[in-house]
């Protein structure tokens, strides 16, 4: 049996009955990574770090992931391990502390993979092509992108190079790659998971979440990483339910809204048909679906690209060549401003520069009211759209992405087209609501398609309920890519 192909819950069962030992899981992952990662390139710095950092026995009282390896996106701080956001400007950075989610994983007995997973630089992108370390390839078709920005995490899980993975999601960066790679990706409610130690992109939108092989693993991982953290003033002090209790439930009578604005021009025909079949399957299980309207949907992408870049321009001001990472060589004798400018010119990639400059523009004197303030107001309208719908519906179902995975290089010269690949995922970040993407089929060309479910804030349970019920009746999540 190839242990690396199993889910965490299957491995936990085997560990309990002492049928396998932890070191055999690690060994089987290592063999797999050595065998195929030269093709997939899901991990970065594999040359330097191949070990697993074992944290030993779980602390009493924490949900146990004892002996289960977890792969971590390169923007989540891991004490003493490279955390570089796949950017030149953070080369060599080894954080002096663990992010809260890492501490929680260690407390639960999980082991952390020393090599981190690939991503778009600072999570700026939808394809993992903007990585300083080069692109990740989609395990289902190596010529295609895995999605992004958590493309490394999604590809690693899909290719059985990981058991569990963490990603981060600012505008779809967990769900869109999960959909492109046929794995399960969850963006929790804003405030559900601590952001302490997540290198910030857009602080009002970022959330850390699980990328897993099935819905059960997603619930298990959420049980461990969720909860209030005094180190993150935006984390919310509401009790964390046992998410595994939402699995295996009847979904009869659940009210599902299908937003008409998501099924218009730009949605790939095959994706649309696959999604409609998935909705039919859910109807067979007794959900009641109805067309709904989220009238401000078309404004979500422009609002996002103002707010996210404005926050990014402020968050990324700290990368100036003083405290960590890269400092431009020729600047040692220059004045301070010149040193900043040269360091940031040489250290940031093209997309990072584009976003920082766009965000600075939106916040600058004379443009603030017309762009930033206006975007904040339209954000209110987008949240109100959801509030209204959730008065009458338990959840909303949409495609995760308008198209399946695209070819590497195809959208690199057209930033606007790249931005539009997040059109279905961005609204939930703006509104702060939770959303999950689950595998729901394949195109004729063999590329995966994802189904997205959205719910009210702090109602991850309904996502797990519906997603798990769907998963029980389908086999998409069990399909494996041939690499």
């Amino acid at each position: 049996m190839e242990l690396n192909t199993l889910t965490a819950h299957e491995l936990i069962d085997l560990l309990k009955t002492k049928e396998v030992a932890c070191d055999r899981i690690a060994a089987s992952l290592e063999t797999r990574i050595k065998g195929i990662d030269s093709k997939v390139k899901a991990y970065v710095r594999l040359d330097k770090q191949k070990e697993f950092k074992n944290s030993g026995a779980p602390k009493p009282g924490s949900s146990s992931l004892e002996g289960i390896p977890v792969s971590i996106k390169d923007n989540i701080c891991t004490d003493g391990l490279y955390t570089e956001c796949c950017s030149k400007i953070l080369t060599g950075f080894k954080p002096p502390y663990d992010a809260t989610v890492i501490r929680k994983l260690k407390d639960a007995g999980a082991s952390i993979l020393e090599s981190k997973t690939n991503m778009d630089e600072f999570a700026f992108g939808s394809s993992t092509e903007n990585s300083y370390f080069g692109p990740t390839h989609n395990p289902w078709n190596l010529d295609c992108v895995p999605g992004g920005s958590s493309g490394g995490s999604a590809a690693a899980v899909a290719a059985d190079e990981a058991i569990l993975a963490l990603g981060s999601d600012t505008g779809g960066s967990i769900r869109q790659p999960a959909s492109f790679c046929s794995v399960v990706g969850l963006k929790p409610t804003y405030g559900r998971v601590s952001r302490y130690g997540l290198i910030a992109f857009a602080s009002s939108l970022d959330q850390i979440g699980p990328i897993t092989k099935d819905v059960t693993d997603s619930a298990l991982l959420m049980n461990v990483i969720s909860g209030y953290d005094p180190f993150d003033s935006t984390s919310v002090n509401t009790p964390v339910p046992d998410y595994t209790k939402s699995l295996g439930k009847d979904i009869k009578g659940i009210r599902v809204g299908i937003p008409k604005e998501y099924f218009i021009e730009g949605l790939d025909k095959e994706v649309k048909n696959i999604l409609e079949e998935a909705i039919q399957e859910l109807k067979k299980q007794g959900v009641q679906s109805e067309e709904i309207s989220l009238p401000h949907t078309e404004y979500a992408v422009p609002v996002y690209y103002i707010i996210a870049t404005a926050e990014a321009s402020s968050n990324l001001a700290r990368f100036d060549g003083v405290q960590y990472g890269f400092r431009a060589n020729e600047s040692t004798r220059a004045n301070l401003i010149e040193m900043y400018k040269k360091t940031r010119e040489g250290g940031f990639g093209e997309e990072a520069k584009r976003r920082i400059i766009l965000g600075t523009f939106a916040l600058s004197h004379g443009y603030y009211d017309a762009y930033y303030l206006r975007a904040l107001k339209v954000r209110t309208l987008i949240q109100e759209d959801f509030d209204k719908v959730f008065k009458d519906f338990d959840c909303i179902i949409t495609p995760t992405s308008p198209t399946p995975a695209f070819k590497i290089g195809e959208r690199m010269e057209d930033p606007l087209k790249m931005y539009l690949s997040d059109i279905y995922t961005i609204s939930s970040n703006l509104a702060g609501i939770p959303a999950i993407s689950v595998p729901c089929g394949f195109t004729k060309a063999g590329l995966p398609v994802g189904l997205q479910i959205l719910a009210k804030p702090f109602n991850e349970e309904i996502l797990f309920k519906v997603a798990h019920a769907y998963e029980q009746r389908t086999a998409w999540h069990k399909m494996k890519p041939k690499i």
Binding site: P302, A317, R344, R354, F361
Partner: protein, 95 residues
């Protein structure tokens, strides 16, 4: 609105990013496209709408002012590109 090269030059200075002339031109062109796209928002009536800075109904989160251990200086300096003793080294800022 039109994004001139001067606007982009000014903003890149604010953002403390140096750009080669070729890069500046390409970026100005791309920003023009993006700004035209986000100008879509100007058609909406938002007169009585309140701005939303984040999704949660919480504000002014305070904690007790209790002393606790902080990061040791040498650990904080571990990643510094240039350091001396217990300081970060930067180019001279006062003549």
């Amino acid at each position: 609105m039109a994004i001139t090269k001067e606007t982009v030059e000014y903003v890149t200075h604010l953002a403390r990013i140096e750009l080669e002339p070729k890069e500046l031109e390409k970026l100005s062109r791309q920003l023009q496209g993006i700004v035209e796209f986000i100008d879509k928002l100007s058609g909406l009536n938002i007169k009585d709408v309140l701005p939303m800075s984040h999704a949660l109904p919480i504000n002014n989160v305070l904690r007790d002012d209790l002393p606790r251990e902080s990061l040791p200086v040498q650990k904080a300096l571990l990643n510094a590109p240039a350091k001396e003793g217990s300081f970060f080294v930067v180019p001279k800022i006062i003549e």
